[in-house]
């Protein structure tokens, strides 16, 4: 190994280390239990290390690591998440945090409301609202368009506001929009005739 590569490896290790707390928080936000979140982070670190050659210098390492973690989580749990979607309360259990001086009841309500937000919207909201990513970066992590992220974040906020009763402060609007037909078709057209 060259000296330059060794130096890079040291840098790489430090960067991985500093990103661990955020990776764990993101994994928990995705719905993993604490143990499962740590497993996901461990797999992410190992994959990142094994593939560090494919990391493009000068790009955002945190974005790259989050992408790896998300792909790992989804490849293993997508199906299960879709099926249960917190039917067993495991997501809420995953969000159990250490006791602190914050208003517990208030946060308990918020955590509970977060569980009612569909997975993809929840992760978009977390990436933008808590992990500190730009819409562009979040789109890269989720492998979708920037507009999709914006839409998901918006819908996540709407859902949270509705669950938490924050809509009551608004004048009309929300319920009216519920009766409007959706712009997106519920099903892909079966025929591809053109």
């Amino acid at each position: 190994m060259t000296k330059a590569a060794t130096k890079d490896a040291g840098f790489f290790t430090r960067e991985l280390l500093t990103t661990i707390p955020s990776l764990r928080a993101f994994a928990r936000s995705l719905g993993a239990t604490p143990d499962r979140a740590d497993d996901l982070v461990q797999e992410t670190l190992i994959k990142a290390w094994a593939n560090q050659q494919s990391f493009v210098q000068g790009t955002n390492l945190k974005t790259w690591l989050f992408t790896i973690l998300r792909n790992t989580a989804y490849s293993e749990y997508r199906k299960r998440w879709r099926e249960v979607e917190d039917a067993d309360g495991s997501y809420a259990a995953g969000l159990v945090t250490e006791p602190s001086q914050i208003a517990h009841l208030d946060m308990a309500d918020f955590k509970s409301a977060l569980t009612a937000v569909p997975q993809e919207q929840r992760e978009a909201l977390v990436l933008i609202g808590a992990s500190g990513f730009s819409y562009d970066e979040a789109a890269k992590i989720c492998g979708c368009a920037v507009g999709t992220i914006k839409s998901r974040v918006n819908r996540a906020r709407q859902r949270l506001a509705a669950t938490l009763g924050l809509h009551e402060r608004l004048v009309g609007g929300v319920l009216a929009s519920d009766s409007e037909p959706s712009e997106e078709p519920d099903h892909d057209p079966a025929d591809l005739s053109s």
């Binding site: 490896a9 918020f110 906020r157 669950t163 924050l166 959706s182």
Partner: protein, 60 residues
């Protein structure tokens, strides 16, 4: 849990939330995330990274 509302999922042009509602959601989300982030890094991760680095630096 709230009953699933497909219209809420699909709507693209929802009315803007009030500033206060947005702020509350943002503040609580960050607080929750910061709590999770504040948990100390388990030793096993430090050990893992050290092991990976040592493995790498040893010539085969």
């Amino acid at each position: 849990m709230m009953p699933h509302n497909p219209h809420l999922d699909e709507q693209e042009e929802a009315p803007a939330l009030s500033d206060e509602a947005q702020k509350q959601i943002g503040r609580k989300l960050r607080l929750l995330y910061e709590q999770l982030e504040a948990e100390p890094i388990p030793d096993k991760f430090v050990d893992l990274l050290r092991a990976l680095a040592e493995k790498e630096s040893k010539p085969r």
